[in-house]
């Protein structure tokens, strides 16, 4: 078997708070393979966003090791793209300029930048919106731009932090399908955080359940449903079997948090 792309080993992270310390992550171990679509589910406060931030290099950890392709992760890098729930589009830049923000750091020529931008804008159906500012777009369109922007810099892995969490059900379903199509063609490694179990099962090859306080990996479930998937995949008995299994586990965690 090939070496995993990302190795998370015995990672611990504690936040020092005014009202005492909070153990965000405790002995977290996880391997992520190249080209894998992995989803993380768990109740709020289970440290999933902390884990994503550590992978992104935006947060430090207290002990353990996090490596990507054998190299320790010590800070943000263009090999790891992040999609935030709140889109994080630069409001003073048009869609096109937003797309190009990171391309500069790839060292591409102007022509290459234009070419890549056009390609990805077309892929997510943004071409006619190229010269609009983010405030002129709907939430779904904004997240489309953010995702296209994430792909444009061609990172090795895309880290997505509840990217569809703020969208309405219809838009969410549509963007899920778009993401599936993109992943099926590009097979780029995706680390996807969500609190929606159904979404996790629909998208990912593997779903990681985390427990709350301290956050740790509780269980990992392989989703053995064939790709291409779409919203109809949800009707399959196997889909519901896996979903219910995960849901039961996650629900236990919700209850334990409430206590």
């Amino acid at each position: 078997m090939a070496e995993p792309l990302i190795k998370i080993e015995h990672v611990n992270k504690t936040y020092q708070g005014v009202s005492g310390d909070v153990e965000a992550l405790k002995d977290v171990n996880l391997n992520i393979d190249e080209n894998e679509f992995i989803a993380i589910v768990g109740p709020s406060g289970c440290g999933k966003t902390t884990l994503l931030n550590i992978l992104a290099g935006l947060e430090s950890y207290d002990s353990g090791s996090v490596t990507m392709q054998g190299q320790p992760i010590v800070g943000p890098g263009i090999d790891r793209g992040v999609i935030f729930q709140q889109y994080a589009l630069f409001p003073w830049l048009t869609v096109r300029k937003n797309m190009q923000f990171g391309l500069k750091y790839r060292g591409y020529s102007k022509e290459k930048q234009e070419q890549i931008t056009n390609h990805y804008m077309e892929m997510v159906g943004l071409t006619e919106f190229a010269n609009l500012y983010p405030k002129e777009l709907s939430g779904g369109m904004k997240q489309r731009v953010a995702i296209a922007r994430g792909y444009a810099t061609s990172p090795t892995v895309l880290l997505m932090d509840e990217p569809f969490g703020a969208l309405d059900a219809q838009t969410r379903a549509q963007l899920q399908e778009d993401l599936l199509r993109t992943w099926e063609t590009e097979r780029k490694t995706i680390f996807f955080i969500t609190h929606d179990v159904e979404e996790a099962v629909l998208l990912a090859q593997r779903v990681v359940m985390m427990s709350a306080r301290p956050g740790r990996v509780k269980q990992t479930v392989k989703v053995d449903l064939p790709y291409p998937r779409n919203q109809e995949t949800k009707i399959l008995p196997r889909f519901n079997e896996i979903k219910n299994h995960i849901w039961a586990n996650v629900y236990q965690e919700y209850l334990s948090v409430k206590k």
Binding site: A56, G75, P76, R80, Y105
Partner: protein, 268 residues
Amino acid sequence: MSDVAAPVQKPRKLKDFGEGDRRLRNIMMVGSLLGGILVWYLLSLHPIIGIILAGPDDVIKKGLAEEWAAGRLQKNILISLWRVLAGWTLAFVVAIPTAFLMGWYAKFKNIVDPWIQFMRTIPPIALIPLVILFMGIGEEAKLTVIFVAAFLVMVVTIYQGVRGIDLTLVKAAYTFGASDFDIFYRVIVPASFPFILVAARLGISTGLTTLIAAELTGTIFGLGNMIQEAQLYFRMDKVMLGIICIGIIGFMLDRLILYLEKKLTRWQ
């Protein structure tokens, strides 16, 4: 029709906080100004009030005509305008880097902030005796007073803009491979731009109010001085003229910056 329901009670009209029809709004605003001038005129006709209050006709026929013909009004306006703009420009140029440094380096902010907060509560006019002692009564003194007042207002406003930046944008820029310097000039600066324009507007009006006060302390030119002198000779027409000129200048400068704001921050 026969099955029409009985008339229901008309729904209550809720306050919508809209500005109403644009044309009607303009008519009302112009009407309000004209009405005010009419009230002013009628008041000035009153035998007792009229002694103190020069009417609009006096201001135009006597005050304006006299001062304009002598070339004094033009000169006073230019001098006051120059002082406001010079002091304001100086303050603007210093306030921007100061606010950015405060936002970027917490240590710098910790050292500078108590002084800014302390100075902010002092009316700039209270500084005038000190300023005169150290700088005399020349132009430097006037510019210093307006500089201090405008600077304080602007630095606080811009700093708030720098602080209020959406940290997700900073994170996003970092993940694209931006350096600290890139974060500064590709994220912090554009994100604070609207606040810089708001600060510029506040700075202008602060500068104008402070400058007129500063002029009252000793100069032979400027609108503030014109008002002061007119008061000595009980020329209320010229006092009113000075007040109106200052108001118009303030209004026009404000509109100019507002226009720039609309042009430059369309993305907002």
